[in-house]
Amino acid sequence: MNSPLLLSAALAVVATSGGLQAGPDTGFRTGNPGFRSISQLAFGPDGVLFAADTKSAAVVAIATDDTRPPADAQPIRIEGLQKQLSGLLGTAESDILVEDMAVNPASHRAYLAVSRGRGPDAVPALVRTGGGDKLELVSLDSVKFSKAEIPHPPADKVVGEGRRQSNPRLESITDLAFLRDQVLVAGLANEEFASTLHAIPFPFRPAADGAGIEIYHGAHGRFETRAPIRTFVPITVGNEPQIIAAYTCTPLVQLPLAGLKPGAQVRGRTVAELGNRNRPLDIISYEKDGKTWLLLANSSRGVMKVSTEGLPQAEAITQPVPDGGTKGLSFENVAGWNGVTQLDRLDKTTALVLRKPEGGLDRLESLALP
């Protein structure tokens, strides 16, 4: 659902007050949302897809009307995904970049954000699975959509002379999630070290307030961290909405979403240490045997299954863990899930993964949740 995310531990959160309005139809209009890029995807209820457009600094909600599983639903398995996409989109395989993958919980179809081309003129495409090995382009010519612009920090300015003039500053939208009535949008600028979390109420309303909230990541010892979160998943602990975020080398940090008001400081706490020398890539949560589990894909250890049991009472880890050791929430490595780069929950018992096992083709496939 998400790819390496960059939140800093000092997260500027843009929150707007206001309650939930019902229904995905509110504020939607029909037409072409005019994407300049699609970098991240996340699903809300009723088949509403949130797609981040970094180049336009916007998040677009699309009412896909894809609210029921296809009649002839077959397990998804696509070998050589990049090659298959090159056929569908009419370009060379080397010109295909899969940006993100998200499963529509209403239809169990996977949606893929794909760039057609690798240069600055790359064209974004939205592709979905049609069961089995089928892929289809989602036409964006006439969809029901609603758009929220990400508040931009001021001080944007062009530099350079004559034809070289441009504004090189860009805030990448690096992760996206939906929780209850808000879209959480994480971003990172390519100049000043400002990583932000915008909490945008959905349905979208115009003129989101740009005031920031700083979240501090729990310190290990003396220093507050501005270290970047790599990937996060929203979960509910008790009745409280939370973010579980993974950092490089690999602490898991719990951040409460309650009480995020402009000007407030929120302190996250480290609830697990999963060992060093790896990069977290994607994280999901799921229910099994009456418990909530986290599944974390990372660069060197395949996939880890983490128990959230005891999360409400978990002591924050504040002391160094020596020798690449582990601490906090218990976890196990999941055997056989090699080369996973993208993860999402397909249904109650199955995950959909995008992976490239060593020496094999990249493939999209469903695997039973461990």
């Binding site: 009419g90 970049l97 920090p153 690449g324």
Partner: protein
């Protein structure tokens, strides 16, 4: 069976006519196939089915099938709205030149029927160097019978402009000082042309003194932090590593160690936006100095005011290298009425010196140098806060930064005589 068999006598495809043209020297090389058919109902009449790519007006070519039995076509159009049905009749595949890939999904696009013509319009513009093949399958159209296909190929040669353009080069790397702080936060890599995205981290390494690569020194983001033109990449050293005491696993530690030398290496195999490798690889060796835990302090900068009546340069010496992109963007000159003064900005002396040349000659009077609050030094320290926050406070002595509250930035005044 895709459609019900027709109730009228089937048209029987006759001989596949010759290929009219195959010309790869032209920008548009097309072969097309004309397809004479005889109707059993009208034996004396020969109809000709033709498949042909039409040149795109908006970059999205259209494949047209003409000469179809209008009654049959209308019947099919009334029966089906599904693209999957039309795809069996008019199949469009892609592949590299001369190697059409029928094992891949058919090309995405829209089918339509107007005035007896079946059309397929590509969802995306044509890609130079990729072959598109539109095939008409008569058996699928007629509901059986001979299935000798008619087809047309569309192939546009790779753009000459791509081939003739000079190879893209890595033009500048910042910071460029011989010594960089242990807590260095980022490099900027600026290229002479747009680069391809998606592969950056495979082509960049940081080597230690023995020539061995440092393990995971950079924050590797799928998004890759490019500017919109993809000529500049921001390469963050993983702050999770360089931060003191951030990680429970402290032995991962900083990627850079004081007193040692490192080499930043970019290999030439990295491809640009048109898929061509870089003109050459890049290596830069640098020494690592002590961590920088001081905020940039504009009060300490040395300003050399220009002379009035001419376009003389206005120079500001920072006394330390600052972040290249931010120093380029966040410093501005305003006149006494607070109007921004137009001019060009350059950085020199390894980003220690900022020079401003106005578009029109200076007038005598007081000017202001405005410094945006987001300005950072090489370690990400700002005027109003250090990158690190020491919970133990200054008593611990390791954060000696003179961070000032400067949420709106800083202002220095200077006088032009």
């Amino acid at each position: 069976m895709l459609f019900p068999r027709p109730t009228f006598p089937r048209w029987i495809p006759a001989v596949l006519a010759g290929i009219l043209a195959a010309c790869s020297a032209l920008p548009t090389a097309a072969e097309d196939s004309v397809y004479p058919v005889t109707s059993p109902a009208e034996p004396g009449r020969t109809n000709t089915i033709s498949v042909r790519w039409k040149k795109p007006r908006d970059g999205r070519p259209v494949a047209e099938v003409t000469g179809l039995d209008p009654v049959r076509l209308a019947t099919l159009a009334a029966q089906s709205q599904q693209p999957t049905d039309w795809r069996r009749i008019l199949a469009v595949h892609t592949g590299p030149r001369g190697a059409v890939r029928r094992d891949l999904p058919q090309l995405a696009g829209d089918y339509s029927v107007t005035n007896g013509v079946l059309r397929f319009r590509m969802a995306f513009p044509v890609n130079h160097g990729v072959e598109y093949r539109a095939e008409f399958h008569p058996a699928e159209f007629h509901g059986g019978g001979d299935d000798t296909v008619a087809y047309d190929r569309l192939y546009l040669l790779p753009l000459a402009s791509d081939r003739d353009r000079p190879q893209t080069a890595l033009a500048e790397v910042h910071p460029s000082a011989a010594e960089l702080p242990e807590n260095l936060l980022k490099f900027y890599l600026r290229f002479s042309g747009p680069m391809g995205r998606g592969d950056a981290y495979r082509h960049i390494r940081l080597l230690d003194e023995s020539g061995a690569p440092v393990d995971l020194p950079f924050l590797e983001l799928d998004e890759e932090l490019w500017d919109t033109e993809q000529t500049r990449l921001t390469l963050l050293l993983d702050p999770g590593r360089i931060k003191r005491g951030v990680l429970p696993n402290e032995q991962s530690g900083s990627a850079l160690v004081v007193g040692r030398h490192y080499t930043l290496v970019v290999d030439a195999a990295w491809t640009d936006a048109s898929g061509r490798p870089l003109k050459s690889g890049f290596r830069r060796r640098f020494r690592v100095g002590p961590a920088d835990r001081q905020s940039p302090d504009p009060e300490q900068w040395v300003l050399r005011p220009p002379v009035g009546g001419a376009r003389t340069p206005f120079e500001v010496s920072f006394g330390e290298p600052l972040d290249h992109a931010l120093a380029e963007r966040l410093l501005a000159v305003h006149d006494v009425a607070d109007r921004p003064v137009d001019g060009s900005v350059s950085l020199s002396d390894s980003d220690r010196k900022w020079t401003f040349v106005p578009t029109t000659p200076w007038k005598s009077g007081v000017y202001r140098l405005k410094v945006g609050a987001a300005l950072e030094d090489l370690a990400g320290n700002r005027m109003d806060r250090l990158f690190d926050v020491d919970l133990a406070g200054s008593a611990a002595g390791s954060t000696s930064g003179s961070a000032k509250a400067a949420p709106g930035g800083a202002v220095r005044t200077f006088e032009v005589r």
